[in-house]
């Protein structure tokens, strides 16, 4: 069964309770006073990545998503993906190549940006498709559980 690991990278909205002090007195010699009214919204987001994927020749579809996104105006949240084995499933020196597609686009570099969300947008998702072929499977030199590790990295720039 497919497992989803919800990775809570950050989500915080710090809205402090009211704080009142009584120090600024106005009188006939000083009849104007100012105070600051403030409200803070901290940067935050939740990115959900697939925990395990069993690659097949028919393709396995998974979802990479972000929610509760709060970014400073003008900033972008990016989620990049890097393959430890350069998109090869490996076992004891035996390799089975596979591909990863973001939407309809097959990725050709070892590290790629899978998801971008600009400020003002609070959520987003993309479909990731993992796929191998019979020809690639035939390249295996050993039987066994071939694996690769994908690293998802979030950044705000």
């Amino acid at each position: 069964m497919k497992k989803l690991l919800t990775l809570v990278l950050a989500v915080m909205m710090l809205c402090s309770v009211s704080v009142t002090a009584f120090a600024a007195d106005l009188d006939e010699g000083n009849n104007v006073g100012t105070i600051t009214v403030s409200y803070g919204v901290d940067e935050g987001y939740v990115v959900t990545i697939p925990a395990d994927v069993s690659v097949s020749t028919t393709g396995v579809e998974t979802t990479l998503s972000a929610s509760s996104v709060l970014l400073p105006d003008g900033k972008t949240l990016t989620v990049s993906v890097a393959s430890t084995n350069n998109f090869n499933l490996e076992y004891a020196g035996s390799k089975i190549p596979y591909t990863v597609s973001v939407g309809e686009t097959e990725q050709t570099t070892a590290t790629f940006t899978a998801l971008s969300i600009t400020s003002g947008t609070t959520s987003g998702s993309v479909q990731l498709t993992f796929k191998t072929t019979d020809a690639d499977i035939a390249k295996a030199t050993k039987s066994g559980n071939h694996t690769d590790t994908l690293t998802f990295t979030c950044g705000v720039n």
Partner: protein, 417 residues
């Protein structure tokens, strides 16, 4: 034998607070004295206003702090008002959340509500032009502020607004209690409107009577308001004089500035303008409507002088006679039944007839700007018997009794044969 009437003695007591000279010596069985109040804008008030250091908002409405006022002294005719304002106040989008926080860039706004406790569990929205508290006497006052942001913004960041608390000590409407008032210095009035049902004479005496936004003075029930400026240079700012229900106004001098019309005469009111300068200050571009400084309907008025830097507008059943003066705006006949007779004067803004059934008779004066007709109106009610024009007025001249002479300099003159 000389008689001193008890009436005079009473008046002596009443007038001890003012610097007044009057005749108290009566040679017959009865007599009268002039009652004059010389306004002196001295002594204001003593007070301490305590405000919160700062306010932090949440999306949930909550108490934000307390505003306390301790007034220990208020001078005669003075009123202590407490205002809260912000340059980011804007009720255009949502009048329930008219206050706004801005992010560091000033690019994104977060609306918030700001209320103050009125009574029981009732809170009223704070508006910059409405005091959260007013008093004409020594007292203590305290109110709790409440508020919240409308909803969390989509951008992270720190949002802030600067609230300005102002205690203003202004002259209240008791200023007008006396029949004759002479200013001895500038006077800043409260905004609250007032209604006169008895005669008043105001001598600006070279000083300024002002308020922060349009204050309406209603003159009704046969009362007459006379405004003089004996010293010259006097000014009235942000006042609108509405004469109606037999109310009467006579203006002999002074510079009047307002963001709306200065004089409104309607419902059988009456106005006589012998002098003064009347100017719109709302920054509106010259227009044949919504730019009037003098307007009237169902009333009579006479303009014998003065300068009108805006439109002079006559609406339905208004009857205006202009014997002199300068109108640097449109002369407007706004509706059927409007009637203007011009005997002399200078008119630089043109004539605008908006509705059919209006009558304009010109016996003299200097006119530039032509005649503009809109809204299905026509110029059938226009009769010209004299004056100089920067357009050919022949269409409105009975040439059997009057002549139109082209002067060769772009003007035409109408004279009787």
């Amino acid at each position: 034998m000389k008689k001193i009437l008890s009436l005079a003695l009473v008046l002596v007591m009443v007038l001890t607070m003012s610097t007044t000279a009057f005749a108290a010596e009566i040679t017959g069985d009865s007599g009268s004295v002039d009652i004059t109040y010389t306004y002196t804008n001295t002594n204001l008030a003593s007070y301490v206003l305590t405000i919160p250091d700062s306010i932090n908002l949440t999306t949930e409405e909550s108490e934000l702090g307390t505003v306390s006022l301790d007034i220990t002294e208020v001078s005669e005719h003075k009123q202590v008002d407490v205002y809260i304002s912000s340059p980011n106040f804007d009720e255009t989008d949502d009048y329930n959340y008219p206050w706004h926080l801005l992010d560091e860039k000033g690019a994104n706004k977060v609306p918030y509500a700001l209320k103050y406790h009125v009574f029981d569990d009732h809170y009223a929205t704070v508006y910059p032009d409405t005091p959260i508290f007013s008093s004409t006497e020594a007292t203590t006052y305290s109110t709790t502020l409440r508020g919240n942001v409308k909803e969390a913004p989509v951008y992270a960041g720190n949002y802030s607004d600067t609230l300005t608390f102002t205690v203003s000590v202004l002259t209240n409407n008791a200023f007008w209690d006396s029949e004759n008032i002479t200013l001895t210095e500038d006077v800043a009035m409260v905004n609250d409107g007032d209604t006169f049902t008895s005669n008043k004479t105001l001598d600006l005496n070279g000083h300024t009577l002002t308020t922060s936004r349009t204050k309406v003075i209603n003159v009704i029930s046969g009362a007459k308001l006379t405004v003089n400026d004996s010293a010259g240079g006097g000014k009235v700012v942000n006042h609108r004089f509405a004469c109606q229900y037999s109310g009467d106004i006579e203006i002999n001098g002074g510079a009047f500035e307002n963001t709306a019309d200065v004089v409104l005469v309607q419902n059988n009111g009456k106005a006589t303008i012998n002098g003064g300068t009347f100017t719109r200050t709302d920054g509106a571009a010259p227009s044949n409507s919504n730019n009037d400084v003098f307007s009237m309907n169902t009333a009579t008025a006479e303009i014998n002088g003065g300068t009108f830097n805006g439109n002079v507008l006559v609406n339905v059943d208004g009857i205006l006679t202009i014997n002199n003066g300068t109108v640097n705006g449109y002369l407007v006949l706004y509706a059927s039944g409007a009637s203007i007779t011009v005997n002399d004067g200078t008119f630089t803004g043109g004539i605008y007839i908006r509705d059919a059934g209006a009558n304009l008779t010109i016996n003299g004066g200097t006119f530039t700007g032509g005649i503009t007709v809109e809204n299905g109106a026509d110029t059938s009610g226009v009769v010209i018997r004299g004056g100089t024009f920067d357009f050919d007025p022949s269409a409105w001249v009975d040439t059997t009794t009057h002549s139109v002479t082209e002067n060769g300099n772009g003007t035409w003159t109408v004279t009787a044969k």
